[in-house]
Symmetry: C2
Subunit: 465 residues, 2 copies
């Protein structure tokens, strides 16, 4: 495969022998020096570190050198030599330089001084050129790859569940409508309602909030599947934890009961975090230094501890007896807030916690009902700093129980007859969970705002780029 | 990781020693036999082959055995023994059987006899339980994994470009609108137009037709990126080649010129097809036997031949001089149809072809203009049977040329100022291409209809499940 006529800076810094004639291409981070020598810090995104280019000013045209400013893209051909003081093993003694594209210092928004995260969000189309977003995007890639590798190595099949859906049965949140009708002139039927027979799909359709229901169809045929795709919430929530468009991973496994599901979740999360520690060392060190001094320690905390398994009912008891002051109330039947989850993990157990057997009223209709008539076989995995990172359950595989629950909750059967049918024919015990990819990345990168772990965040009033 | 209390049938058939006590779980494909012995063919999706379960009828309860019909889900514990006549190395002598879920023979739609592809599309929620769709979905998984592995191993970063977009600049096709407005009561401004200030994003938004423009932003920061995500077309095309929702792979590489781009495309496609031949042997053999006798030969044809590189102008000349009868006209300036592409590949060169330097009028605005003023540095990769499988180009990196072309085509600058800006600051030569994932799967599986290579197809008037 072509390298585009260059050696990557990662390779130059790590393994190319000093003395080699090399070509590097990349973007100028800084240029400094004096009238005799200039030092250019060049980055190509292959690694967080820059390579230093040493330029004998007297050998180059003034006009060329003037065009080499922060943000410019250049080619440098020269000799890789051992470095005296660049902080790296090697640097390049420039022999020839070409400017592919300059960057006018009066207009280029990314000058060398630090910018606020808010400002960088406004120029999200340029922020991948910063150290911070380079690091975040490399880690994002590494985590996505590790997810595929984990499941592939274990015989799971990646199932592409649909994005556009005619069913809104899951009720996980407000949905975006997808339409080809002209909103300036919506066709109406004789009763004055929208005439969906003229819409593309012939009925109202939305963007999915979860691939789980279709994932179960896959698991009840192929045994082990996972989804990894975009999901959507049309909730008007302007918070550091909410996105309108985000990515989700949802494994679903036939013949799994809740215990198996917990084992999978713990093994999976530890694998991912170990993968980050092993493969993203430079980027994690940068983020630890710049943003979150406890980041690497927190990652190790997860890898090195067994996850506590605890009944919801026990968890509530611990919280009520803790004497701690919480903003939100604690009592049996209420959902836990992040502050409660973090108390259990950070203060009480000092380990990640898997909380199970939640009250059925606060969980989804498809969860398997326990014999007590009050709780379901739900599980939430709770982490330090962020609280819930995974939510899952054993699914109700009994046709009559599931159908009764659907009726109790007023979900129209016409929307999910196909889902119910899987319990009519060849039903089996099965379980699964959902991991929000950006939630994982908040944990792994230590970033504080979910808008800073996705390339182009979609939030209320914002769909730029 | 838990195996859910069973050994996968793939492992039982391939590597578990005869004589072992084993548990298998799966779905009954067939049951036959006589009053003394029953033979159950059991499948769990881990492999296309069934394992045979031999049941001594006299040792089991009649009522239990009656519930074991096609489609039922069962657990079998017993001894793995060498097989006499099942066509497999081993079979299971049943010691204990549990029925997880029966499948009423009067209602279960997937009886053992063959079903038409049309019928299976109507029950897409059940078709993963058939041999054909099991094979297709396993190959789909293998190809998705191979794509991620190929790019990861070569230092590309997986970039998640947005699905919801406020820009419709690419013009690759009709778009779906995404909205939270109430279509029964669309808010209007004082001039009677839709008041988008009340919509979720505060402006009209659509589902993306391509991640390329955002992909270029990534490449001009990280050097090598790829996208792999859903894309959408709201075209009212009811054909075996069109889906409203499909998946696309779009690598984009800084410092690549057209030659590098061609080399990447050829290497990438050969890698994927070799991966299928190496990893999906049983499924490919099944599809070759059942649907497309030339399938495996066609895959080998691609792997074993160098791709011809040819100017569009040369291609047109060959077609005009061929004496062949085509349905659609051939002349310089017209786009090629599938019949023309296939003629070049199958009849003339007998090799895959990369056609380059197309007339600029039939290609997108962002392609790099050649010095002749007439053509652009486009490339289409043409395959046997399906014609174009990849479309790509070197991108125009010159700010003024790109801006002029945008103006000529009447694209509003307000929609893509951010894209143009990448050519203002640190621009660089760069190239990329798009591979439709389902187009690839049509080629690799030999299926004739694109609705049969995606789990839940979305087409005009159809968004079921």
């Amino acid at each position: 495969m072509s390298q585009g006529g260059r050696t990557k800076i990662a390779e130059l810094l790590q393994s190319t022998p000093a003395g080699s004639e090399v070509t590097a291409k990349g973007w100028v981070r800084t240029k400094r020096g004096n009238k005799n020598v200039a030092f250019i810090a060049l980055n190509d995104g292959s690694i967080i570190h820059n390579i230093q280019i040493v330029v004998d000013v007297n050998k180059f045209d003034d006009e060329l050198l003037k065009r080499i400013t922060t943000g410019a893209c250049i080619r440098v051909t020269g000799t890789l030599v051992e470095s005296q003081g660049s902080g790296q093993r090697v640097e390049i003694q420039a022999g020839d330089i070409e400017v592919y594209g300059s960057a006018d210092p009066d207009t280029y928004p990314l000058q060398k001084k630090g910018h606020s995260m808010e400002f960088l969000r406004e120029i999200a189309y340029l922020r991948p050129r910063t150290n911070t977003f380079g690091a975040v995007l490399r880690i994002r890639h590494a985590m996505a790859y590790a997810i595929h590798k984990y499941f592939n190595d274990r015989g799971f099949y990646y199932l592409h569940t649909p994005l556009i859906t005619g069913s809104d049965a899951e009720g996980a949140g407000a949905m975006f409508q997808v339409t080809t009708l002209d909103l300036n002139n919506v066709p109406k039927d004789s009763e004055g309602h929208v005439d969906y027979s003229e819409d593309f799909f012939g009925k109202p359709c939305n963007l999915t909030v979860s691939g789980q229901l279709e994932g179960e169809l896959g698991a009840l045929a192929l045994s082990q599947i996972y989804t990894f795709g975009p999901t959507f919430r049309a909730e008007n929530s302007n918070t550091p934890r909410h996105l309108a468009e985000f990515w989700m991973i949802e494994p679903e496994v036939a013949f799994y009961e809740l215990e198996d599901n917990m084992e999978l979740a713990e093994d999976f999360l530890k694998y991912l975090i170990r993968y980050a520690l092993d493969n993203c060392k430079d980027d994690l060190e940068f983020l630890t230094k710049m943003f979150d001094a406890e980041l690497i320690d927190r990652l190790k905390f997860v890898v090195e501890n067994d996850f506590v398994r605890l009944d919801y009912t026990e968890g509530i008891k611990i919280l009520m007896e803790s004497g701690a002051k919480f903003e939100y109330p604690v009592s049996w039947g209420l959902d836990l807030q992040s502050e409660h989850e973090r108390y259990l993990v950070e203060k009480h157990f000092k380990k990640p916690v898997i909380l199970i057997n939640y009250p059925k009223e606060i969980k989804a209709f498809y969860m398997k009902q326990n014999a007590d008539g009050k709780t379901v076989r739900a599980m939430d995995v709770l982490f330090p700093k962020i609280g819930e990172i995974i939510g899952g359950s054993q699914r109700e595989e009994d046709y009559n129980k599931l159908r009764t629950r659907v009726a109790e909750l007023g979900i129209p059967e016409k929307d999910i007859w196909w889902y119910l049918d899987t319990r009519r024919w060849g039903s089996a015990p099965h379980s699964g969970f959902g991991l929000g990819f950006e939630r994982l990345l908040l944990f792994v990168t230590g970033m504080g705002n979910i808008r800073d772990v996705i390339p182009f965040p979609r939030t209320p009033k914002n769909a730029d780029f």
